[in-house]
Amino acid sequence: MHHLLNDHIMPLRRYALALTRNVDQADDLVQDTLTRAIESASSWDPRRDLRRWLFGIMHNVHVSVSRRRSLETNIAGQLTSIASDSVPAAQLDEVHFDETMAALMKLPEEQREVLVLIGVEAFSYKDVAEMLGIPVGTVMSRLGRAREALRAVSGREQETVTDAAEGNRSFLHVVK
């Protein structure tokens, strides 16, 4: 199975980065996913789509790791879960993002994962619904909200550009 897994490492890393927003945590998530895949290789039917199976495993591993982490956080009495959901992890902050990527990182996790699985990894709506264990309608509405949020960010930039252009025009007018 090892040689089959190799082809999927890059896509799994992309998804892991989007889920964790942290390079180290993403690495761990990829490792844990591959380990889990090898362990349960006997339950994989070669007629099934390997890529879909692996992404499903990654989703499940991420959910259980997050659950454990938030439990630990609660025990420590640090209510950081709200903050960690809206602020990109420090490590990824150092990477320069274009505004679309920055907007993706600010999305709630449920919208971020749907947008990446469909928009980046090109999974079908039905596959994503099965992977996440939610109805197709929910997938669509999360995707719709995610795109809406990204559009809003671009819209703001568009206005700024237009304002600047108009500013320039009036400036030229005055000079003339």
Binding site: H2, M10, V23, T100, M101, L104, V120, A122
Partner: protein
């Protein structure tokens, strides 16, 4: 008489998850609605941007090589 173009049609157009017949109808409708067409194009552009950026990060700032677990 074709069905009016819905938000779901536009979404499926962006994600390439639309039947070929419907794709033609949606394309036809978009050719007459420049605002909608611009939105679809912008959604497509952002889709590609995200893919490129995530691929870039996934291949560049790798802290340690991903190793397959030992069998």
């Amino acid at each position: 008489m074709t069905e009016p173009i819905s938000e779901l049609d536009l979404m499926a157009q962006v994600d390439d998850q639309i039947g070929s017949g419907r794709r033609i109808e949606v394309g036809e409708s978009l050719s007459r609605q420049s605002t909608m067409a611009a939105r679809v194009m912008a959604d497509l552009r952002r889709r590609e941007e995200l893919r490129q950026t995530l691929t870039g990060i996934a291949s560049s700032c790798r802290a340690k090589p991903t190793m397959l677990p030992v069998r």
